[in-house]
């Protein structure tokens, strides 16, 4: 299991999309928008928003394509021939991808903290870290499921855009939804990405009640997506 985790981590770190979509873009977005928009609390909003976006792009979008490539190669079919239980393989690979997501979010937070002079406590960082792990895990498991539904890169591209765009646009990652139409606010209440962003912000502010609510929702999403991921192996490989 350690070998699978270590090799997955090494391979993930070599992924060229990771550098741009989950490191450069969120850091540039955090600095650029944070310095451009002078509103109280916006530095916190954009930093946590970009942390969440970077994780979404890596743990979901990048991994959908990565899983699809392996699936098309037939390696997941071969997994069924090996003695390694499927759940162990999924957990090992996902663990590596979650760790990469956590490191990316940590980088964005570190840069945001330096640029905007945040005073972060260890507890706050730990609370945000926990949210990152649960959120990234949910996205990674969702990526297994979505890639199982797609037969080509074109379908994967459409599917990932269909999921990530509403996630991002109906959330307060980059802008406040206070003056948004009622229906947008209603959608955002059911938007898993909004719960992820909320978890990061309440963790940042050490708002334990709000953080626990987000953790609960993210945990539920994680379990549902894990179930879907394992099931998707069954039907897509058959």
């Amino acid at each position: 299991m350690n070998t699978v985790f270590n090799l997955s981590l090494r391979s993930a770190a070599r992924e060229p999309f990771l550098l741009f979509w989950s490191i450069i873009m969120p850091i540039a977005g955090t600095i650029g928008l944070g310095m451009l928009i002078h509103q109280p609390g916006y530095a916190l909003q954009i930093t946590t928003g970009m942390m969440a976006t970077g994780i979404l792009f890596y743990a979901f979008t990048t991994t959908v394509f990565s899983v699809l490539a392996q699936r098309k190669r037939g390696v997941y079919k071969l997994l069924r021939v090996t003695p390694m239980p499927l759940w162990r393989y999924i957990l090992s690979v996902s663990g590596a991808w979650i760790l990469v997501s956590l490191l990316c979010a940590g980088l964005v937070l570190a840069v945001g903290s330096i640029v905007f002079d945040f005073r972060l406590s260890i507890l706050s960082v730990l609370m945000m870290g926990m949210v990152c792990v649960l959120g990234a895990g949910g996205y990674v498991f969702l990526s297994f499921f979505i890639s199982g539904l797609c037969k080509s890169e074109a379908q994967a591209s459409i599917a990932t855009n269909l999921i990530t765009l509403p996630f991002l646009l109906c959330s307060s990652a980059f802008y406040s939804l206070e003056s948004a139409p009622q229906w947008v606010q209603l959608i955002s209440a059911f938007n898993p990405f909004q719960w992820f962003v909320n978890g990061l912000r309440t963790g940042f502010l050490m708002d334990v009640t709000g953080w626990l609510a987000s953790i609960g929702v993210l945990l539920l999403i994680l379990l549902i997506t894990l179930f879907l991921a394992v099931k998707s192996f069954g039907f897509s490989e058959a």
Binding site: R10, K77, T82
Partner: protein
Amino acid sequence: MKLISAQGLVKNFHGRPVIKGIDFDIEQGEVLALIGPNGVGKSTAIAMILGILPPDDGSIAYWRPDYRSFVGAQLQSTPFFEGYSAAENLKLFGALYHTRLSREQIQEKLESCHLADAGKTPAIKLSLGQQKRLAIGVTIVHHPELVVLDEPTAGLDPRARYEIKEMIQTMAQNSQTVLFSSHDMDEVEQIADRLIFMNDGRIVDAGKPETLMAKHGVGNLEALYLKLTPSQFKGGLQ
């Protein structure tokens, strides 16, 4: 000793029968060739033996309950993990079979696949012949008792085919049992101990090459192939 005994296997896809009740055994130490035109069900039969596809009817008895640890398989799609080097693929597949490989052991495996200088090369960048050799290399990384290869030489140039044949002969010399599918009668003649001819989802005949040729009154395996797998075209070529 029988490693595998398949009885009355049936498989339908979307109501269309693909395997129409086949019985066969795989004896320890033999090199068994599964022969037949494209689309007669060879890969489906292999997938059922490997446990990738469940049969709709019939049964498969294995020589040991933990047989998965002692089977190595290479499917038609040349499976290996993209984003990993040749050496990393060997290490990863070793881990999937609970076999931890040292750096020296990996180098030995690379040499046995004629890939000594390609250890650090990403698997996706290897030539087709090298990819096939790597795919067979990962198949035998854990010294399996039974090796199953689905068209191992398909689409390869003569040198690459020769090298794959050499690898199969080495497996036979190492007392490994090999089941492989092929259309290439020269290859079959050189390496197979026993043949199973399939046509239209059924086994049309099976036995030792010389016995089958004598039985059907033909002088070579190509003539035997043509006799046992008649053209599906009505009227044939003018």
